[in-house]
């Protein structure tokens, strides 16, 4: 006995639900039509993008050679262990497992993997990996398919620190650089020059990266290669550097802080360029460690400072060359003009001291240069007056860039009435001219001073110092040496005086056997005279020693500047370095150091206001020296 229920309402309502479901399925079909048929092409392209990945094959940078074809910078093959992931966290514990096999910091790598950007991420976990690391990774290709080994050209500098500041170094392009001119089209991660010639000629040296199109799976692991376009190597470049001279420079400056630059005074070709203390550019090639970088930045000796073009120092007595040239050219004096030096000059209610308290007696211009008599040049400066001193100093390249083909050169400064009015809104006192006359109240870079000395060496021309001779076989053009219009007898008189500096004056320690050297010593005080008295032997109180020279004096092949920081007087600290370098270069004996030279001019305190600020190196611009 069964009861028949009235199921009509139920059946009607089932029909409603049934219809709704059918409607939904039909709607899905329409949507799939839209996805697959209407937009099929769009999604096919996306799927292709998914699996096809373009990888750059980094082009080796052009190798650098010295003027005689000897290698200065080359590329060696190195191995980078890289990890690829498509998704956040898709690596699972792979990073931790890998980090136990080849040591690296998995946390830092994970951070780089998880930053925003393209979906596929390849991150170098270990640059320049050892053969053992490479073997370890290759052996685990199956277990850890996300890890692989890339062969990349690695920049290598056989001379290490020896050419750090001239060649520069390379590193990954920074985000800031990507926005800068010349770097716009580069991919993040591209290796570019980050200093020196490497940066200056980056575009020329880079070559063109090749391309590999590969099919990858979702773990970013290569399945097959679809296409390969080989890279175009960067062209080789020849520098003006003479490796022999450079080696002599590096050896002579061992244990010192300072700069040496040597150039051909006729052309401006830089034969040697050294700033010390330096850094090893090789340590940047594979990405410098943060700790190493911090050490470089913190080092009180400033190894990143490119001293020849960024170090600003008072030229001291070396400025007497400019002073003498101007005075002779302007007929203010003749080489025979004499002044009496009692050890001081009292003028404008101020006592200006000579370094020799007892005085040099009555001296002519040649003697005054040879003995570096301050009183003589006080008088010359007073006769010339500040306007003419300033004009000649600027004419010879002071307070302006030399145009050397290196990045981040600093111009230095020259104090004159115009400068004082502009910066301090103050009137010029005649007493200030007196200190300008002996190279105070100004800041020059070693390369500026060298360029001025080269004017004497080449008979009156201002050259553009440069490091690059030719790139890819094409000579690089520079401005022609600029004729300054000095009368030949003016140049000859100053040159003769510079010869006597070395033959019998303050620069005698640079004397060579058989090769006549012309030079001028100088010292840049770093503290006031009174302060020095408080601690005569503190290294940081010692003045910087200058020596500018050229040789052979009659037909100069090389002009050179030596700056030894805190070396005391130039005759004692810098001239022997020059002697050692030049004797190696010319293959002759240095005969100077045997005798005791007359004392070089110790720091004087001539001006009403201490000029310490100008003596200390200018604050460096280190923008170029940031690690990637």
């Amino acid at each position: 006995m069964r009861i028949y229920e009235d199921l009509r309402t139920v059946q009607r309502r089932v029909g409603v639900v049934q219809a709704l479901v059918a409607l939904a399925v039909a709607g899905l079909l329409v949507y799939f039509w839209h996805l697959q048929v209407i937009r099929g092409k769009y999604f096919r392209d996306l799927a292709e993008n998914n699996r096809i990945r373009a990888l750059p094959i980094p082009a080796p940078r052009g190798p650098l050679f010295d003027r005689k074809g000897r290698i200065l910078a080359e590329n060696r093959s190195s191995f980078n262990v890289v990890v690829t992931s498509e998704r956040k966290d898709s690596l699972g514990g792979a990073l931790e497992r890998l980090s136990r096999l080849i040591s690296f910091d998995p946390k830092e790598v994970r951070e780089r993997l998880n930053t925003q950007g393209p979906r596929f991420r390849t991150v170098v976990v270990k640059a320049d990996a050892s053969d053992e690391d490479v073997a370890t990774i290759e052996a685990r290709r199956m277990e850890e398919p996300e890890a692989s080994v890339d062969v990349v050209p690695l920049r290598s500098y056989p001379l290490g620190i020896g050419l750090a500041h001239s060649l520069g170094y390379v590193g990954e392009v920074s985000e800031k650089q990507l926005e800068a001119a010349g770097f716009e089209k580069l991919e993040p991660g591209t290796v570019v020059g980050q200093g020196g010639v490497e940066l200056q000629y980056n575009k020329e040296l880079m070559g063109r990266d090749g391309l590999r199109r590969i099919v990858v799976n979702s773990r970013g692991v290569e399945v097959t290669e679809a296409e390969r376009k080989p890279p175009l190597d960067g062209p080789p470049a020849t520098l003006t550097i003479d490796l022999d001279l450079q080696a002599a420079v590096v050896e002579a400056m061992a244990g010192k802080a300072g700069s040496v630059v040597a150039l051909d005074p006729q052309t401006g070709e830089i034969l040697a360029y050294f700033s010390t203390p330096a850094f090893d550019p090789n340590s940047f090639s594979s990405g410098i460690k943060a700790s190493e970088w911090a050490d470089l930045l913190k080092d009180p000796e400033k190894p990143l400072l490119n001293r020849p073009i960024q170090g600003g120092y008072a030229p001291g007595s070396t400025f007497k060359i400019v002073n003498a040239l101007a005075a002779l050219q302007e007929h203010v004096i003749t080489p025979q003009t004499k002044f009496h030096c009692p050890g001081y000059l009292s003028v404008y209610n101020t006592i200006f001291r000579c370094h020799k308290e007892t005085g040099h007696g009555t001296v002519d211009m040649t003697q005054a240069i040879a003995l570096s008599c301050n009183v003589y040049f006080y008088n010359v400066g007073i006769r010339l007056e500040i306007e003419r001193l300033s004009r000649y100093a600027h004419m010879m390249g002071f307070a302006q860039l030399t145009g050397v083909d290196l990045p981040h050169e600093l111009p230095g400064l020259f104090q004159d009435p115009e400068w004082k009015m502009r910066t301090q809104q103050a009137r010029w006192f005649p007493a200030e001219t007196v200190s300008v006359a002996i190279g105070q109240a100004m800041s020059v870079t070693p390369i500026q001073l060298l360029r001025a000395a080269a004017v004497v060496a080449n008979g009156g021309k201002l050259v553009t110092p440069h490091l690059m001779k030719a790139v890819g076989g094409h000579p690089v053009d520079y401005p022609a040496p600029k004729e300054l219009g000095f009368r030949p007898e003016v140049i000859a008189a100053v040159r003769d005086a510079m010869i006597s500096v070395v033959s019998e004056g303050t620069g005698i320690r640079a004397k060579l056997e058989g090769v006549q050297v012309a030079g001028k010593t100088g010292s840049a005080q770093v503290v006031t005279h009174a302060r020095l008295e408080t601690n005569k032997h503190a290294r940081e109180y010692q003045p910087h020693g200058w020596f500018v020279c050229f040789a052979p004096a009659e037909n100069p092949k090389v002009a050179m500047v030596v700056m030894v920081e805190h070396g005391t007087g130039g005759g004692i600290s810098a001239a022997p370095v020059a002697g050692q370098i030049l004797s190696r270069y010319f293959g002759v004996r240095a005969i100077g150091p045997g005798m005791t030279p007359p004392p070089d001019n110790p720091p004087v305190e001539p001006s009403p206001q201490p000029l310490r600020a100008q003596a200390a190196p200018l604050s460096p611009t280190l923008a170029q020296a940031r690690p990637n």
Partner: protein
């Protein structure tokens, strides 16, 4: 366990045949999705599960559904017990406690079976109401019973399966005579609760997931990944597909969970719109027949049971396929009959068995 021989004539062979064809397509697609990967041989495991499921289905078919419905309270208590046990003692796999570890490392997902138990219970409770129309008050007892299960499953967490019980409940309540006004009331309450939840209960990261669903490109390497990749797979299949075992998205591993929740994506990529029409057509046929069974049933219990099962299957098919197409947020919800997984296969076949059961016993005896 004698089956009346007459009943065999009333078995819906078309319905069963369509289900078997879909499972066959599922096995083939699982093979395509996994043969190149690390886990191979899954299609064989799936075949074992199907064989086991067919045996289970025979058992389900042989018992009169009314006897099953009568046992619903016991089955319900057992199911709740297992769900609680899993929550408390189950192994933690990928951050969830969904699994019941049987002897010999055999894993079962109780929630897959709990939803069928829920269908039995709901059919029983509403059938016993014996009223022409139901008000909101009549929903309290069945609502509480289903709600407890929803909470337990959602706590695992398995939001997809938990949510499956909602259309089941609403469908059967509707059939049982729930007034249209009451339905509107339920919908209104849910909307208010939902918007209040959005404003006060949801945490920022949960909201951000929803934003990511709305614009997956906000996080293409993270939360938006599956949706983007599945959409690309489906769309790139085009009209005719890339060919069996030729789908780049699935073969190169861009599709996650491609042999389980995203199996339809593989199918769509490799067989194109043609394959989609064929398979969705089969599903439509099955669902249509299931609802038809509810209309044919000889009593309210049978109608409610068949319609409830049909609602579960409909929701799972529609949600899964919409998810694969990128229309709804990604939730772990297998495609009945096709997705890889023993629990899902068994549960799907039991569901098929229950439908057959109701249909073959539609005549008075």
């Amino acid at each position: 366990m004698a089956i009346d021989r007459r009943l065999l004539f009333n078995i819906d062979w078309g319905f069963l045949g369509a289900a078997l064809i879909l499972m066959g397509i599922g096995v083939a697609t699982i093979l395509s999705a996994t043969f190149a990967g690390r886990n191979t041989g899954l299609e064989v495991k799936q075949l074992y599960a199907i064989a086991l499921g067919l045996v289970g289905m025979l058992v389900v078919v042989s018992l009169d559904y009314r006897r099953l419905v009568d046992r619903a309270p016991v089955l319900y208590l057992a199911a709740v017990g297992v769900l609680v046990y899993v929550l408390a003692f189950g192994p933690r796999i990928a951050g969830t406690r969904r699994w019941f570890m049987g002897p010999g490392g055999f894993q079962v997902q109780p929630s897959e079976f709990a939803k069928l138990v829920a269908a039995l219970l709901v059919a029983k409770l509403f059938a016993e109401a014996k009223k022409e129309t139901l008000g909101l008050f009549d929903l309290l007892v069945p609502g509480a019973a289903v709600g407890l299960m929803v909470v337990l499953i959602a706590a695992e967490p398995d939001l997809g399966t938990a949510f499956t019980l909602v259309p089941l409940f609403l469908t059967v309540a509707f059939l049982a005579g729930l007034r249209v006004r009451a339905i509107l009331g339920v919908v209104l309450v849910m909307m208010v609760v939902g918007s209040l939840g959005w404003m006060f209960a949801l945490k920022e990261y949960q909201k951000s997931r929803i934003y990511t669903f709305l614009d997956p490109n906000l996080d293409p390497r993270g939360a938006g990944y599956q949706k983007i990749q599945s959409e690309i797979a489906v769309g790139s299949g085009g009209v005719a597909g890339k060919g069996y075992k030729q789908g780049t998205q699935s073969q190169l591993g861009y599709l996650p969970a491609r042999h389980t929740d995203f199996i339809f994506s593989v199918l769509a990529e490799e067989n194109g719109f043609v394959g989609v029409v064929a398979v969705l057509g089969l599903y439509m046929f099955i669902l249509w027949r299931a609802f038809e069974t509810a209309q044919m049933a000889r009593d309210r219990v049978g109608a409610f049971l068949a319609a409830g099962i049909a609602a579960i299957l409909s929701f799972q098919v529609i949600y899964n396929v919409a998810m694969v197409a990128g229309l709804v947020p990604v939730k772990g919800l297998p495609l009945p009959l096709m997705s890889y997984g023993g629990s899902s296969v068994l549960s799907s076949l039991f569901a098929v068995g229950l439908i057959l059961n109701v249909r073959m016993r539609r005549f008075a005896n």
